[in-house]
């Protein structure tokens, strides 16, 4: 799978669906933690590992702590081609 915004969105929404935490109306500015998807620390680690598995790298392992899907997509957009 590529690191295009659409593919990254699919990975994140599939993950949130699997753990039954996909908020209604989820979008690129919905918070991933409090007042949004409400991911806890272990679920965040699972998301990090899932992103690495699917896309080859992930923002969390690079020291970033994205707050939204949009910030995750921005991480991949900034990677060198």
């Amino acid at each position: 799978m590529t690191t295009s915004p659409a593919d990254v969105e699919r990975t994140v929404t599939d993950f949130l669906t699997r753990i039954e935490k996909l908020p209604e109306g989820f979008g690129d500015s919905t918070p991933l933690y409090a007042d949004g998807a409400e991911l806890d620390s272990l679920e965040t680690a699972e998301l990090s590992a899932t992103l690495e598995d699917v896309h080859g790298s992930d923002p969390y392992s690079s020291g970033e702590m994205p707050q939204t899907l949009g910030e995750i997509q921005a991480f991949y957009a900034a990677l060198p081609a």
Binding site: L42, A45, E46, S48, A49, T50, E52, D53
Partner: protein, 251 residues
């Protein structure tokens, strides 16, 4: 609620420090059981060459040269396993080193050598592999500690501390990962007939043998059998424990 279903087929097993001694015994046990095994060490040995060339094992064995005291080496090794087989089902943190001597005479280098490999190396590997297990929602980790981490031993203060640290890691990780179907246990090994018998001389080993209810020192196979038990997929309710395997010495 019932116990988790037991998956069938070969598992992908990572054994650190599997090129000789206890680690080689553990690698052999998993290969004999039909599993896929990856191991790493700082140098290749005759045992590794045999597994690489044996038609029975060559296709399901991987060796990587790595010094696990270095985070980057651990990462390269784990990536190689994932690239080849796509997952890791079992991690046996066996790699370790002993330096003996009275603590008051220990050098900084010896302290670093023991702490960097025994504690930091185990943590690096557990971090990398537990991420993979989290993504998969299952897995088993076994840390090979030692009875000296429980009882102490004169001249092995740093080694004893490093092994006690692994037992703490085991309990904490078991709590952290238990809800995701990942078990974490320690084996507190007694004294083994391996080349790394903690720098003990033959006289000391004979004395230990006399005090051991089983009447002998342990063999790698004794520990490998317990690894198999602790990583049996049907054993998902056994986690966070330190299993003493010492022929009854500390009972």
């Amino acid at each position: 609620m019932t116990a988790a279903a037991t998956p069938t087929g070969p598992r992908v097993v990572v054994v650190t420090g599997g090129s000789r001694g206890l680690g080689a015994g553990i690698v052999q046990a998993y290969l004999d059981a039909g599993d896929i095994v990856a191991t790493c060490a700082r140098s290749i040995t005759a045992e590794v060459e045999a597994w690489q060339s044996d038609p029975e094992t060559a296709d399901r064995f991987l060796f990587g040269t790595a010094d696990l005291a270095r985070s980057a080496d651990a990462e390269v090794f784990v990536k190689a396993v994932i690239e080849k087989w796509g997952r890791i089902d079992v991690l046996i943190n066996n790699a370790g080193v002993a330096r003996d001597g009275i603590l008051g005479l220990f050098s900084d280098d010896d302290i670093d050598t023991v702490v960097d490999l025994n504690i930091k190396g185990t943590i690096y590997m557990s971090r990398l592999v537990s991420r993979r297990m989290l993504a998969k929602g299952s897995g088993s980790i076994v840390n090979i500690s030692s009875i000296v981490g429980l009882s102490g031993y004169r001249g092995l203060a740093v080694y004893s501390a490093s092994k006690a640290a692994l037992d703490g890691l085991t309990r904490a990780l078991a709590r952290e990962l238990g809800s995701r179907g990942i078990t974490v246990n320690s084996i507190a090994s007694g004294y083994l007939r391996t080349e790394m018998s903690h720098g003990l001389d033959e006289g000391q080993l004979k004395q230990i043998e006399r005090r051991t209810p089983a009447g002998r020192l342990g063999y790698p196979e004794d520990i490998a059998r317990v690894c198999q038990f602790l990583t049996d997929p049907a054993g998902s309710y056994l986690t966070g424990q330190v299993i003493v395997v010492d022929g009854g010495l500390t009972s």
